[in-house]
Amino acid sequence: MLWRCATSFLLVSAALLAWGRTRPHYGGTLRVEIAEDPWQRPGGIARRLVLDGLTRADASGATQPALAVDWNSENQNHRWQFKLRPGVHFQDGSPLTPIAVVASLNTACPSNCPWSAIHAVGGSVIFTGDEPMPNLPGLLAGDEYLIALTITSEGKPPEGVIGTGPFQVSGFLNGVLTLAANENCWAGRPFAGTIEIRAHRAVRDQWLDWSVGRTDIVEVPPEQMRQAQQQRLNIVSSPPVTLLAVQIAESGSLESPLLRQSMALGIDRSALSNVIFQKQGEVTASLLPANLTGYSFLFPVERDLAKAQQLRGGITPPLLTLAAPGDATMQLAAQRIALNLREGGFNVQVTGDATQHVDLTLREFRLEGNQPQAALESIAGDAGLNPPPPGQGDMALFQSESEILGRYTLIPLLYLPRAFAVSGRVRDLRLNPDGSPDLADASLLDTARGDSSRGDAP
């Protein structure tokens, strides 16, 4: 397990090390194709290009300043003050103010937020909570809490997404979202002059476009990484960032924790990894990947059909439904899981429709950063579970995770990497902690020379 993790790190490290030997050039158009929506939450590729958070996670998982330059807590983490970076402007020229930040966060999180209240005071934003919020700085680095302009200086909602990030929306035509470099970005003007994102493009079409030089960056799903490597595509891969898990409804015929535990023991994770995901996944029974915690081996991943049947105790629940929203790979994975569960004595039927009541759902949870406590809270929140009790340190994290897993409502199966094939004209492409490509720091080789066509000539 660890060697695969190490391999992923090597790939990422190689990308990191490629930075800066020949200094990056400015200008040019970077073309990207994706299967999903660029604005989807979490992980939409355009979100972190246009928007910034108050904080950000660095490569080691540490929380770093972004739109906030400093923060401190009081009253045993019940109150946090985040001091905003001065001189930052939204892409429409309006200043980033504490009031604008409060408005954005209230829009992003109207209820069930990690905080109870949020206020603008002077040049700071104050968060208060009924419960302690020891991991708030890490949580605010998440995709969910990126800051967007909600009201323009004319008092109207903005047309389109406006943030403080390195790129601004400049058009959307024929399915292509065009982003232009934000010359006044507080973090520096990005190297590429323009990014064109062709969304909702099937992976096979992406690869076809890539092969004829029509695009620079395309997605490589985990189950196709081996094929891409055989075809000698230049691949940049992340550490494991997508958790594949089965969520089990706590009510109805699966109310008994023993039945849910029986299901957890009956799923053959290795077969899922080997057959469906071509050995690219990291088999896991923990919510957080091994590289974040170092203790995931404490949660056994082996299938134990005998114990599963013993726990079921002869009870055969009525027909259960397993929903698998997503692509054909998710459907195949769901079929495999249903087969495993049938062998364990459960009668399970797969459905692609997650809108009806279902007993089980095959879900993907995307890690938004590599701060483990914040990541755990985020997964628990996405799953609609009560957040784990706050704590600091590895042991507290382990106990929080054990408590969530002990409910047997979320059964982790695999951790999958994100990967992209990159054309030879792109350099310094790194992946963010959530596995998305960091296009703001990527540059193009063929613009060296100053890209006079886009006004980047010296």
Binding site: L2, A6, S13, A14, L16, L17, A18, W19, G20, R21, T22, R23, P24, H25, Y26, D58, A59, S60, G61, A62, D70, G87, P166, E183, N184, C185, W186, A187, G188, R189, P190, F191, A290, N291, L292, T293, G294, Y295, F297, L298, N370, P372, G393, D394, M395, F398, R427, A440, D441, A448, R449, G450, D456, P458
Partner: protein
């Protein structure tokens, strides 16, 4: 706010230095594991109480396998001190220790199994990165010394006997030296309203008295003094589009008076110099990333690393392309080593190889001839400049972790 930690690992010289490194490397592990082993043993004993237990240790971390027996011995010793006798025989209790790690640190996990109950405890282990010794195989040998480590990007630094001044994107930090190395004495905000640069750059040069400095970052100019010591250093910054002193004055043999420094205008919105210099040198320069003055028998020559990737030398008022620079990155600096031709150009690698490196070259005419083997660096070289005395070059290096270090790179004559 900044977390500076300074180390001054000064290797003595040549073979002695390599031996010292190897000896230290061999002795370090046992000492390094004592504290976490004692801590974990204490926690295990707290769960288990005095008695006998079977201990097993497995390694899932990057700790070399040959160090695991030493760790197991330490654990057995520490458990014994707490009254827990490690036994190879069948025992009612067993302790399964896993040496693991995560992105941030090592993690040693103990599973204490008593009957059907398993209890878990764990300790953090500080991550340590082995540092390779510099090696070379031909010509002169490049060697690096760690000057300092920091969380912040270092764009340039000036080291004197009494102070080390580091230029960062948003701060100038003055460091004082004590017996343990450099420590932060004072820092000054650079200020300014300009947005940060994504590939920030800066320069610093000593003033005429040697107890002050002049530093530039995009759109800002700072000057300061440490005449009263680093602890009482002073610095002020103001917005400025003035040219940067990128060509330090090089005395010509037999020439009278102090030569003037040539300055170059920096494009503060990008990461390169515009090509406009002052005073004018009688030739139009292209936009460039790096420039250096290379002493030659016929007179100092100007070496330019253009943004088009070409390395050119200004010869008799005309720019001529230097061949053999295909492996060069964007940064280079001149080193007066006294070896071979007397001075060399130290250039970063182009990025074709797997890791970043520095290599010495000589330019007898218009060809760059390798004069050393590549010196592997512990990350990406983000800035490179000649030290004030030009007897060494300084390199800012970013680790994969995002932390930075500044290294001094010197040459040993072969």
């Amino acid at each position: 706010m900044m977390a500076w930690t300074w180390l001054a690992r000064r290797i003595l010289s040549g073979t002695i230095a390599l031996l010292a490194v190897r000896t230290a490397a061999a002795q370090a592990p046992a000492n390094r594991w004592q504290q976490p082993a004692a801590e974990l043993a204490g926690q295990i004993a707290g769960i288990l109480g005095p008695g006998q237990a079977r201990l097993s240790v497995r390694n899932l971390s990057t700790i070399p396998a040959d160090q695991v027996p030493a760790i197991q011995a330490l654990l057995e010793q520490d458990l014994k001190a707490h009254g827990v006798q490690s036994s190879g025989m069948e025992s009612a209790s067993s302790i399964r220790v896993t040496l693991s790690e995560n992105l941030r640190e090592g993690l040693w996990v103990a599973e204490v199994i008593q009957g059907s109950e398993t209890r878990v405890t764990m300790v953090q282990v500080e991550a340590g990165a082995p540092h390779a010794a510099a090696q070379a195989k031909s010509g002169l040998m490049l060697r690096k010394q760690l000057v300092m480590e920091t969380k912040q990007p270092v764009l340039a630094a000036l080291e004197t006997q009494t102070a080390l001044v580091a230029v960062e994107p948003e701060e100038i930090t003055v460091l004082a030296k004590d017996t343990r190395g450099w420590h932060e004495a004072k820092d000054f905000d650079v200020g300014g309203k300009r947005a940060l640069a994504r590939d920030p750059r800066g320069v610093i040069s000593a003033d005429g008295n040697g107890d002050g400095f002049e530093a530039f970052v995009a759109g800002m100019e700072c000057s300061g003094s440490f005449a009263g010591g680093a602890e009482s250093a002073l610095a002020t910054c103001h917005e400025s589009d003035d040219p940067w002193p990128v060509f330090p004055p090089v005395p010509e043999p037999g020439a009278a008076g102090n030569p003037a420094s040539i300055k170059a205008f920096y494009n503060a919105a990008r990461n390169y110099f515009t090509g406009v210099v002052t005073p004018a040198i009688g030739a139009d320069l292209p936009p460039f990333y790096s420039a250096a003055v290379l002493p030659r028998p016929a007179g100092a020559a100007l070496l330019i690393g253009g943004i088009d990737g070409k390395v050119q030398v200004l010869d008799a008022g005309a720019l001529r392309t230097v061949s053999g620079t295909r492996d060069w990155g964007s940064d280079f600096a001149v080193l007066d080593s006294g070896c071979g031709a007397g001075n060399q150009v130290i250039a970063t690698g182009s990025g074709e190889a797997a890791g970043d490196s520095l290599r010495a070259y000589e330019l007898p005419a218009f060809d760059a001839v390798p004069a050393s083997a590549p010196l592997a660096m512990d990350g990406t070289v983000t800035a490179l400049w000649s030290a004030a005395d030009r007897k060494s070059v300084m390199a800012a290096v970013r680790h994969a972790s995002g932390d930075y270090e500044v290294d001094r790179v010197m040459a040993l004559c072969d």
